[in-house]
């Protein structure tokens, strides 16, 4: 497992990283925690000439309170996100989902921003970020811009981040007091989810947000279910009925772990379970 030879750059500021990216263009690949990139390089599925490691940029790491949102630096590890009190208090869904990412070793190396920028539809963080209406702060040669979650995920492994841009932080609007649950369905513990559902609710139930993992080429919102849940009571029958709409508009893949129709069935069942748990019912 030997990658093709590449040059390695380790900038210490975002400006330096952007300059390197500008210089090397599409010959360069950004590395955050490396938990997806390194296997790809080692299996020679990709062979960038330059790897730009963001690990030396301290300003990209950390979590802070910013009024109506919490802000998670892109290079903050899953482990640190999981442990952080601000996240638990204001974005419980993120805490719950991050706890389910891969295994402990990967959570100590992999980063919050790296996973979102990688945009694997089976990744655990897209659905909760979408459900919570996260905002993605992206730095480029002309300065920073902010992209709403609905516009961030474009396609399989494709986001709104331009080739000359870097994701620097993710703003999560505070959902203080909202119940949350991430229901992940796997065959073995270290597997990517076959389907997962990220649900968060205010009251029981005044308002609900439901994100779906691996139900299409990007993370998806189960909007019909959300609408049906708004103002509903958190009874098993009511929630299950609303969850019957969870697979609407999805186009899940067929692979060794399940056919598309089975995944749709799972999405309905798991949505019901996730919402009930989020509502504490």
């Amino acid at each position: 497992m030997i990658p093709v030879k590449f040059d390695y750059l380790a900038p210490t500021s975002v400006e330096e990283a952007l300059a390197a990216l500008g210089e090397h263009g599409d010959e360069a690949k950004i590395m955050a925690g490396g938990q997806s990139l390194l296997p790809v390089l080692r299996m020679r599925l990709n062979a960038p000439e330059v790897v730009i490691d963001l690990g030396g940029i301290d300003s990209l790491r950390g979590i802070r309170d910013d009024g109506d949102a919490i802000v998670i630096g892109a290079m903050t590890t899953h482990h640190d996100v999981r442990e952080h009190a601000l996240v638990r208090e204001h974005a419980l869904l993120i805490s719950k989902a991050v706890a389910e990412v891969a295994d402990s070793q990967i959570r100590h190396r992999g980063t919050f921003g790296g996973a979102l920028a990688h945009a694997d539809p089976a990744g655990d963080l897209g659905a909760p970020a979408l459900a919570l209406g996260a905002q993605f702060v992206i730095a480029g040669p002309g300065g920073s811009r902010t992209v709403e979650a609905d516009d961030f995920f474009v396609d399989l492994f494709e986001t709104a981040i331009g080739e000359d841009e870097i994701l620097t932080e993710v703003r999560i609007p505070k959902h203080t007091g909202w119940g949350a649950h991430y229901e992940k369905f796997v065959r073995v513990a270290h597997q990517w989810p076959i389907v997962a559902v990220a649900a968060t609710v205010r009251g029981s139930i005044d308002e609900a947000r439901v994100g779906l993992t691996n139900m299409g080429s990007t993370p998806l919102r189960a909007r019909a279910t959300e609408a049906a849940l708004a103002g509903a009571s958190a009874t098993e029958d009511g929630v299950r009925e609303a969850s019957q709409l969870a697979a609407e508009g999805t186009n899940p893949p067929t692979d060794l772990n399940g056919a598309s129709d089975y995944r749709k069935h799972l999405a309905r069942v798991l949505t019901g379970r996730a919402v009930l748990k989020a509502a504490g019912a």
Binding site: M1, V4, G258, V269
Partner: protein, 824 residues
């Protein structure tokens, strides 16, 4: 001569921690890939992406021009010097065996086959240059899947004219070991029960932890090969037989080897290519495979379609079993590949007194990775079939699955018992193992809970699975192997050397790759010879040190290799007695041996074995008629297999909404005779169970229609970790039925857990949902397959084909997977 030696309490039966573990776990040891020789070159293989193709041309110029590349060689560059990969077990005289070059020059027969090798000064440079080798292929139609292969419309090897390699048959009426199975089935159709099923043994990948690695040093008088192999002795023999190098010029070393599970019971193209390149260039070379290469090109296991008919009377007493296997060899008949399903031939009747039995095995060639031994090798497949059938029979009769087994099993008073397959089981006590397992499992309480859940219509249903297994292991009596046309014997060799300082070197012809031989064998010698455990050094895995041996597989090391060791130790004591009598000036008849000392009966005179060892070193004083040595060696050829058995009980919860299955409880009571080291046995059972459970629930090697291995990484080939399993109750019977054909009374345990656990798990899953109309779920029992099986009849799951694969009225042997076998 009065030195007294503090003797520890008996070593045998003690939970000794393994003395080899520190170096194995930390990796500060001699793994093959850790070996670096002066001037060593590195190899990278170029492999075919196509399952079946003619090689039109290979352009190596760009690769040759790459940095630090020394050579790029293809099949055409080698003649006979490349040798051949051999099949050592042709199961019939007319077996079709395609020629198997380590690096074919003209045609590839599976995706992953090697077509060129790049030699460079570093592994990275070799890997880079391998991508520059430009191979043109003319793709040919590929045959994948057993059912497709049987049709013979597309041929894996066109020159053979058929995909059918061999048909091997055993019939109890012809062998005189039982009655006519067809008559039994006819009778049962009239006034009894006939259970007909088709079970699929999916293809598995051994997935040992240490990838295969080989180093060849051709410098000097001898050629030395280090290889991550289970079989250094067989490897040496095969190198000599196929490459023209005299065996005496070949030294093969299996240094520390990180697991095998049968997957390193092979002579590989990679070894042969490394051998040829090193000889061609007169330079040491190393090749270490990547995990991706390992999954695609190290041999796979299992892969059978089993067509089964079980006949019984109305009370569930079995009157006959008919078995037809179709077994996928992959692209070539590997070292013992054809024989693996035949090893199951004697085990379908398991612990039962079936009066008639017929077994047929048709092996077929396909354009897929070749198959061979994988933990259990033939016996897990047989055990799965019969234990699934016995549960089905119980359901048909309407009695508890344990009752149906009791009605058919050999009772403990009936041993020794000659089975319908012609084996003589020497000992066993199925009643005792079952009673103990049942009690610890809490069988009755779990049955009661199952009933309550069914009555309540719980979303999560509970099932209980039974597997009462036995196996034949300790490969093997050489004459029996000869009668099966196996290419080698089954004996084992050991020698015991007493060093001048009183330490003991033990040499075994078995070749440990994680089993803990160094510890267990030290315990045996410590007790038998009466020396401290710490003073025993076990040497193995180097043909120059262990000059005779047949290596490690088939749960043979302890029961065959251990017995050879006992015999060698006994010879040491005999020789030492002569010397002791001389030095103590006493008659041999007056000497007692115990605790490492000869003592003169009725006196306080004595001499320790270590002192005698020193006396043979100095040679100052010894009898005229004695050769100056107390070292000894022994070769032991077993007179029978041995037959461990056990009762395994598994409780599984099935989520009927999602199909997810969760293990609730697993209890096994294995009777493996006397136990040398309970800790090592527990490790073998735990690991074995997980490997068998993994076949039931998780693992499956899948090729697509083009012959590409879809499960080519651990992302798709699902290996369980400790996070996916529970703690098992591992028990043994209070009074084991010891093996009567070896001194230690031991039976093999290396494969037991794997053989037993698979049907216990699937039986439990099926039992949980049988009331919903399910009588089978294809392995691995994925949530999707379980869900489709449950909802096949209620319209909730519209495409049931992958979950309900089996017999339907008037349509025998249908395969809903359309010959793809591996599913999907």
């Amino acid at each position: 001569m009065t030195a007294t030696q503090e003797r520890p309490a008996a070593e045998i039966g003690k939970d000794r921690r393994r003395k080899e573990d520190q170096r194995l776990i930390t990796g500060r040891t001699r793994w093959t890939d850790n070996i670096t020789l002066p001037g060593m070159l590195h190899l990278a293989m170029v492999r075919s992406p196509f399952a079946h193709a003619a090689i039109t041309s290979i352009d190596v110029e760009a690769a040759k021009a790459a940095t630090n590349v020394v050579a790029v060689l293809t099949g055409r560059d080698f003649g006979d010097e490349l040798g051949a990969c051999i099949n050592a077990w042709p199961i019939t005289p007319d077996q079709k065996t395609p020629p198997h070059s380590p690096m074919p020059a003209d045609r590839v027969a599976f995706a992953g086959e090697i077509v060129a090798v790049v030699v460079a000064r570093s592994a990275a440079e070799a890997r880079d240059a391998a991508e520059l080798v430009d191979v043109e292929y003319d793709e040919q139609p590929a045959v994948l899947g057993i059912k497709n292969a049987l049709e013979d419309s597309v041929l894996a090897h066109p020159d053979l004219g058929t995909n059918k390699s061999a048909l091997w048959v055993f019939d109890s009426s012809e062998a005189g070991t039982g009655g006519d199975v067809e008559a039994a089935i006819q009778q049962a159709r009239t006034d009894g029960i006939v259970i007909e099923r088709e079970y699929r043994q999916q293809r598995l990948i051994p997935a040992f932890m240490e990838p295969r690695s080989v180093v060849v040093d051709p410098t000097g008088e001898q050629l030395t090969m280090w290889s991550a192999t289970q079989i250094p002795h067989i490897l040496r023999f095969a190198l000599a037989a196929t490459t023209g190098v005299p065996e005496s010029k070949i030294r093969v070393i299996a240094p520390d080897v990180g697991g095998g599970f049968g997957g390193k019971l092979q002579t590989t193209p990679e070894e042969w290519i490394a051998w040829a390149v090193a000889r061609r260039l007169s330079k040491p070379v190393k090749y270490t495979e990547t995990r991706s290469e390992s999954l695609v090109s190290a041999h796979h296991g299992r892969d059978q379609v089993q067509t089964l008919s079980l006949a019984a009377d109305k009370d569930g007493k079995v009157t006959g079993l008919k078995v037809h296997l179709d077994a996928d060899l992959g692209a070539y008949v590997s070292l013992v590949g054809g024989g693996i399903p035949v090893l199951g031939a004697f085990m379908f009747n398991a612990i039962y007194k079936f009066p008639s039995y017929r077994f047929e095995c048709q092996t077929v060639l396909t354009n897929s990775t070749w198959t061979d031994a994988y933990r259990g090798a033939g016996r897990p497949e047989a055990t799965y079939a019969v234990e699934r059938l016995m549960d089905e029979l119980a359901a048909e009769v309407g009695v508890d699955p344990l009752v149906i087994r009791e009605r058919n099993w050999i009772t403990h008073e009936e041993f020794p018992f000659t089975t319908v397959a012609g084996l003589e089981y020497d000992s066993g006590n199925y009643e005792a193992a079952t009673a103990r397992a049942k009690e610890v499992f809490g069988y009755d309480a779990l049955r009661a809970e199952q009933g309550e859940r069914r009555a309540r219509g719980d979303r999560v249903q509970l099932g209980i699975g039974v597997s009462t297994f036995t196996e034949m292991c300790g490969l093997a009596p050489s004459r029996v192997l000869g009668s099966l046309d196996y290419g080698a014997g089954g004996w084992e060799h050991a020698s015991v050397r007493l060093l001048a300082t009183g330490k003991v070197e033990v040499v075994t012809g078995t070749s440990a790759h994680g089993q803990g031989h160094e510890t267990a064998f030290s315990q045996i010698v410590a007790d038998r010879l009466g020396v401290p455990f710490e003073d025993v050094e076990v040497l193995h895995g180097d043909t120059q040190v262990a000059h005779r041996g047949l290596d490690t597989y088939g749960s043979r090391s302890l029961v065959v290799g251990g017995e050879a060791l006992v015999q060698a130790v006994d010879k040491v004591i005999d020789k030492a007695r002569h010397l002791a009598s001389h030095l103590l000036e006493a008659s041999q008849d007056d000497l007692d041996y115990g605790g490492g000392r000869f003592t003169v009966r009725g006196t306080d005179q004595g001499i320790a074995i270590q002192e005698l060892a020193t006396a043979t070193f100095t040679g100052h004083n010894y009898p005229e008629d004695m050769e100056l040595s107390i070292d000894a060696e022994a070769t032991y050829d077993p007179v029978n297999f041995n037959y461990p058995h056990g009762t395994h009980l598994c409780a599984m919860e099935v989520d009927t909404e999602t199909g997810a299955v969760t293990m609730r409880k697993y209890t096994c009571c294995d009777d493996i005779g006397n136990i040398i080291n309970p800790l090592i046995v527990a490790g073998q059972v735990h690991g074995g169970l997980v490997q068998g459970i993994a076949q039931a629930l998780w693992e499956e090697a899948v090729h697509d229609d083009a012959g590409t291995l879809v499960t080519g990484s651990f992302v798709d080939y699902l290996l369980p970790t400790s996070a996916d399993t529970i703690s098992f109750d591992v028990l043994h019977t209070e009074e084991p039925s010891v093996c009567t054909t070896n001194t230690l009374g031991t039976k093999g345990v290396g494969e037991a857990g794997t053989i037993a656990s698979t049907p216990a798990v699937v039986n439990a899953v099926v039992d949980a949902v049988r009331h919903l109309g399910v009588d089978d779920i294809q392995m691995p029992c994925t949530p999707e397959r379980v869900w489709r099986a449950i909802h096949a009849h209620d319209g909730d799951a519209p495409t049931p084909e992958s979950a309900m694969p089996h017999f339907e009225e008037d349509a025998p042997n249908q395969d809903p997977t359309a010959g793809q076998g591996a599913g999907q």
